[in-house]
């Protein structure tokens, strides 16, 4: 039996904010296998990002424990690199230097870094921007730099927190295919947070629905890969989409009328 990539045991997070005690996560038990593409989906503000931050080691749980490849997590680590929702490309480093720094932190020898930086930038289609400042790039391009940086860190688990939220449809599609390609090439475990059902159907092996700080549903998606936009017409996918939308609390007025 293989060691799970991530294991959460009886995990709870309580925030003591100005609005009083907020139970962000309660009693989460979860095992993620190596190589799995797990999507955490749920309405906003109900614990998805908190869960991801706990796995990253950026947030200490109030109770319970986190194991990454069998070892207790006590803080952030390169083995759990993260692509954030916000723009985290360092504006004071040129694009190439951003990727290069991740390689340096990973301990890659200086003479190997140049070729690797070029390779990761090429993977995301940004070879020509190595010498540019991040401000010279569009938001979508900076997101690709973040992806290249995260993969350059070569983590065992890659955490992605609504990474493509504010981007347009075309840019998102491009980024989805880049993620899927890198994931299948490098066999990483990916934990991906989103509130987008279509994104989930396209990416996930396994979907965890999170509501009110709890995992309320754990589903497997066995649709064949590579998945394309045609998935939208697949009856199983439509049923799954319906189920997820229900879980998210989306009420279709027409359907509601039929049910009555």
């Amino acid at each position: 039996m293989t060691t799970p990539a991530i294991e959460l045991r009886d995990l709870s997070v309580v925030f003591n904010g100005e609005a009083g005690r907020v139970q962000a996560l309660s009693n989460i038990n979860l095992t993620i296998d190596p190589g799995e593409f797990v999507v955490l989906i749920g309405p906003s503000g109900q614990g998805k990002s908190t869960l991801l931050n706990v796995i990253a080691g950026l947030l200490k749980p109030t109770e319970g424990e986190i194991l990454a490849h069998g070892e207790a997590v006590s803080g952030p680590s390169r083995e759990r690199a993260m692509v954030f929702q916000e723009d985290t490309v360092f504006p004071w480093m040129r694009v190439g230097a951003n990727v290069d720094w991740a390689l340096k932190l990973r301990g890659v020898a200086p003479d190997e870094r140049k070729a690797l930086t070029a390779r990761y930038l090429e993977e995301v289609g940004l070879s020509h921007t190595a010498g540019a400042w991040p401000r010279e790039l569009s938001g979508g391009m900076r997101k690709r730099v973040s992806l290249a940086t995260a993969f350059a860190a070569d983590p065992e688990v890659l955490l992605m927190d609504e990474p493509f939220g504010p981007l347009d449809f075309v840019t998102r599609s491009t980024l989805h295919s880049i993620v899927i390609r890198l994931w299948s090439e490098e066999r990483k475990t990916i934990v991906f947070v989103t509130h987008d059902v279509d994104e989930t159907l396209l990416l996930a092996d396994r979907v965890l629905v999170i509501r009110h700080g709890e995992i309320v549903d754990d589903l497997r998606l066995d649709f064949a890969r590579p998945r394309t936009d045609d998935l939208r017409a697949d009856p199983d996918a439509i049923a799954m989409r319906r189920r997820l939308l229900d879980q998210l609390g989306v009420v279709d007025p027409a359907r509601a009328a039929l049910a009555r």
């Binding site: 952030p76 390169r78 040129r94 720094w101 401000r135 010279e136 790039l137």
Partner: protein
């Protein structure tokens, strides 16, 4: 996917304009040579016009607002402040008033004042930035230091000067420590705020990439605080000039301020104008130089 041509300067500038800055503070205090010339010329013209008006209204106009030619005529008198040396006898030892003496006196005064200012300011930067980072990184220290810092900032600086003369005498040492005292609080506060304003997402990103504390400090914190720090240091620099001049005006020997104090004693308005002129040029040039120097470090923002 279209790939923008990043080699075209026009395209680059357009992209730069549309890309949002992650920082709220952007420094745009670059003083150009042209703006200096325009400002200086305007000042001269307004002065001359005003002196012409004054000449018609007052009995002794040269003691209120002398005309530009009158002021120029007083330049030689500045050689009174040359203490002798470089083959030129001091006026007080029986030497003649010369243009060379005047230039030497001004240059030496400017040199003395600049060195004192730079010594105090540099010291304030080193101590202030270090202290500011330490305070800024700890929420508890930040809360604790809030009161003392506000108190220090509220003290009337010039009123503290006698204390410094008492401690160090009317010496260069007193001037340097006074400049230090007058600027260090500004530097500390600017640094604390800058550290506090570093977006959390950058430190989080660095930590998930496996950065150590030292790496986080050098490659993330330092560059991230630079834009805001630069604005604070520019402000402190102008304070430093006021402090050094104040110290020299109020007793510390030597430098432009001491020359100014003697000129005031003898109501030598023309001499005062020259001394102020040199002072203003020095202060403006120092801000420009500082801006150029730090501008290189902030190319990523431009």
């Amino acid at each position: 996917m279209t790939t923008p041509d990043l080699t075209s300067p026009l395209r680059r500038r357009r992209l730069a304009r549309t890309a949002p800055s992650p920082f709220t503070t952007r420094v745009r205090t670059v003083t150009t040579v042209r703006s200096l010339v325009i400002g200086f010329t305007t000042l001269l013209v307004v002065w001359q016009l005003a002196s012409m008006v004054v000449a018609r209204t007052f009995a002794v106009p040269e003691q209120v607002l002398p005309s530009i030619p009158d002021i120029l005529g007083e330049f030689k008198g500045l050689s009174d402040y040359w203490k002798g040396g470089l083959g030129l006898k001091a006026v007080q030892d029986g030497g003649d008033q010369t243009y060379r003496g005047a230039v030497l006196a001004l240059a030496y005064g400017a040199w003395t004042t600049t060195l004192r200012m730079l010594a105090g300011f540099t010291l304030a930067c080193i101590v202030g930035i270090a202290l500011g980072i330490v305070i800024g990184l700890s929420a508890r220290l930040r809360r604790l230091s809030l009161g003392p810092l506000a108190l220090l900032a509220a003290l009337p600086l010039l009123a503290m000067l006698p204390l410094f003369s008492f401690w160090f005498g009317a010496t260069t040492k007193a001037a340097i420590w006074f400049v230090f005292y007058g600027t260090v609080v500004t530097v500390v506060r600017a640094t604390v705020n800058a550290v506090d304003n570093v977006p959390r997402r950058y430190t989080d990103q660095a930590r998930t990439l496996g950065a150590t504390r030292l790496q986080l400090f050098r490659r993330v914190l330092l560059p991230a605080i630079l834009p805001e720090l630069r604005a604070g240091l520019t402000l402190a620099l102008t304070f430093a000039w006021s402090m050094v001049l104040g110290a020299e005006l109020l007793g510390v020997q030597g430098g432009l301020g001491a020359m100014m104090s003697q000129a005031i004693e003898f109501s030598a308005l023309g001499r005062m104008v020259f001394i102020s002129g040199v002072f203003i040029i020095l202060a403006a040039a120092s801000v420009t130089a500082f801006s150029r120097l730090t501008g290189r470090l902030l190319r990523w923002m431009a």
